[in-house]
Point group: C2
Chain length 391, copies 2
């Protein structure tokens, strides 16, 4: 299905692996594995707490590129953390949500046409309760100071002495996952940088090898600022209809001429252009101008698009319907797969039962997960522009 | 064997359970169980790091009294903690040490003649790596703040941001042990008070019931101050010969007329008098005065002994040989059992191999256990005057 030519040489593979990344730690590990001729094993984790939305396309596109470059990708569905996020939520609900995540993420990757035969989903609960794993948790806790654990989680875990202790365990678990999932590389946003640096130092203390780390930049949300789960309109669900997508994008914040902090432009750069290339082989993003009876603007280069935007050639009024249209196309496969799968449909009702008034109250009371800053309910459902790391 | 009459009524049982305690939390739990007519289940934990010495008689006598009062006593041999105490120490060594602890503690209890049929030894590793247990660790960590964990461990865990994270897990584990060992009561020194108070609050957060807590006072060591493992003479091994015991006690610090901080008098009060009562039915401690051709001083009452000491009737010169003699008698059964058991003898060599010069260096480098204050090597082998709690 993927029309982008599969990379064959080491250089082609590296180019695809590193495309659009903000930073890489220990790239020599990745390069050494390519020299050996074996598949690079990468892991990316997500807590199965909220509901995946279009923001998840940012890591998903990188994962699609990794798969296309011949990497074996493990997606960790951090269900234990999902359960711990709210002790009042029964384990079955979290179980249904991890299954929902699995269906959705797979469909997102299929949507760009990459081969998913090297894709693997692993639930945290399948090994994070095993004796080997827990002995490593105890061992790593005994050689890691509170100070270092705090530093490692500084940008991803709420920092205060009133924060739950699980916030300090968080880096311990995420770092051990590299060893216990048997991977070579961990992938995450640059907000994971301190944790990834810690991983380099900590794993060798237990006699385990260092891993490489690849990091996506943090990009602004589609609506400029943070997406908010409390504002339904600010979050585009992966199953939203084309009409709903258009409506929501129309409300997106996009100041004319200003490129910085513009979530629509960032989404084109990090999702729509690479998705088009993976799917069709052509790295293009088209902006129709039929209303003004002008030729469409066709971009394959982010710089050209930014220049046009700054000069108001590419106005928000032109950009918005183009982005909405591209998202509707990108998510068509997801909607189709959902429509064709009674199993997935059934799962959705189980995973996200309609909120009863009473239930909502319980949920708010039980909210104390350390990764989510207090009062930032948004982060639970829609962490910045990235899918959340393990939570 | 025990000559003290077994208590029969609730009041008699309570009197023996509470004898010489500093404090009890939730005594109504203990009393309620006695009203039900079932055996009260008590747990006491010890990290299997060093080597049990005569200081362990302080908790052992209380355990003997609990057994004599019909309680079921579980002794937790905290081997995982023993292993974590020094990552360089192989697991087999720790395994041998827990077995050594078991042999020794059983012999200490037999030495005072109590029925040990209701005594049970449990190794931490037998359940502290199980999925149920670890899920409770995760859950309790997610509802306990760093601040509260620190407060709970304030007197038993080294407090600094550079301390290992395991120090914060320490209270979590010790409190969960109450649930997972299925006990009604936890027994420890008053240094455990903050942890015991936390246990009352924390267990109900996971839907578990509160336990009662009984606490021994902290008493001065036989040598007045702290025992030190680096000074062989300051620590009386449970297998020391009567001659060695006499020699060591002769060097004990004991200022004439001063009762406060006098480890010899405290040992008589908390070990020798109750041990004599359990063993013979007579709560007496005898001080010979044959050299001065005087009648022996026979005490059954601590107050009378303190009064004589303050008036210099009972001088350090008289007290020391009497204590040495009583310890030699009390430990005779332990020496005899050891002499009769090739298995125990063999175990001793395995558990405490003669230190090679190189090995010693490695040991010092690996020393980072949170319970032991930095630089206080003594605490590892001979924690204050009490046997250490789980470490």
């Amino acid at each position: 299905m993927a029309s982008r030519k599969s990379p064959e040489t080491k250089e082609e593979k590296l180019a695809l692996i590193y495309e659009n990344l903000a930073e890489t730690i220990n790239p020599e590990i990745i390069e050494g594995i390519l020299d050996e001729g074996r598949a690079v094993k990468v892991y990316w984790g997500t807590a199965t707490t909220g509901k995946p939305h279009t923001g998840y396309f940012v890591p998903a596109i990188k994962i699609a590129q990794l798969l296309h470059a011949g990497c074996e990708v493990t997606i960790l569905l951090a269900d234990i953390h999902g359960f711990l996020d709210n002790l009042k939520a029964p384990l079955e609900l979290v179980e249904h949500r991890s299954n929902y995540y699995q269906w959705t993420i797979r469909a997102m990757l299929e949507a760009v046409g990459v081969d998913t035969s090297l894709l693997k989903f692993v639930k945290g609960s399948s090994y994070q309760k095993s004796p080997d794993y827990i002995m490593d948790v105890y061992r790593l806790c005994s050689v890691t100071s509170e100070h270092d654990a705090k530093k490692a989680g500084a940008e991803i875990v709420k920092q205060s002495t009133n924060a739950p202790l699980s916030g300090l365990l968080y880096p311990i678990l995420q770092i051990l996952d590299e060893e216990h999932l048997g991977v070579d590389v961990q992938f995450g946003g640059v907000d994971q940088r301190k944790l990834f640096t810690a991983a380099k130092e900590w794993l060798p203390k237990l006699g385990y090898k260092q891993r490489a780390h690849i990091m996506n930049p943090m990009i602004p949300g589609l609506h400029g600022g943070k997406m908010s789960s409390s504002e339904e309109d600010s979050k585009i669900d992966l199953l939203d209809s084309p009409e709903t997508i258009t409506k929501k994008i129309r409300k997106a914040e996009a100041a004319p001429k200003i490129v910085e902090g513009n979530g629509l432009l960032a989404f084109v750069e990090y999702v729509l252009l690479p998705a088009a290339e993976l799917k069709t082989g052509a790295r293009t993003f088209t902006v129709e101008r039929t209303r003004d009876a002008l030729e469409p603007l066709v971009y394959s280069d982010v710089k050209a698009m930014h220049a046009d935007y700054q000069n108001d050639v590419l106005t928000p009024q032109l950009l918005k319907p183009a982005v909405a249209d591209a998202i509707a196309h990108l998510t068509a496969h997801i909607r189709d797969s959902f429509a064709a799968s009674p199993e997935w449909q059934n799962l959705t009702t189980l995973a996200y039962p309609p909120p009863a008034k009473k239930e909502k109250k319980v949920k708010n009371k039980g909210t104390h997960y350390p990764v989510r800053p207090k009062g930032d309910e948004a982060a639970k459902e829609t962490p910045k522009d990235e899918a959340p790391k393990e939570a």
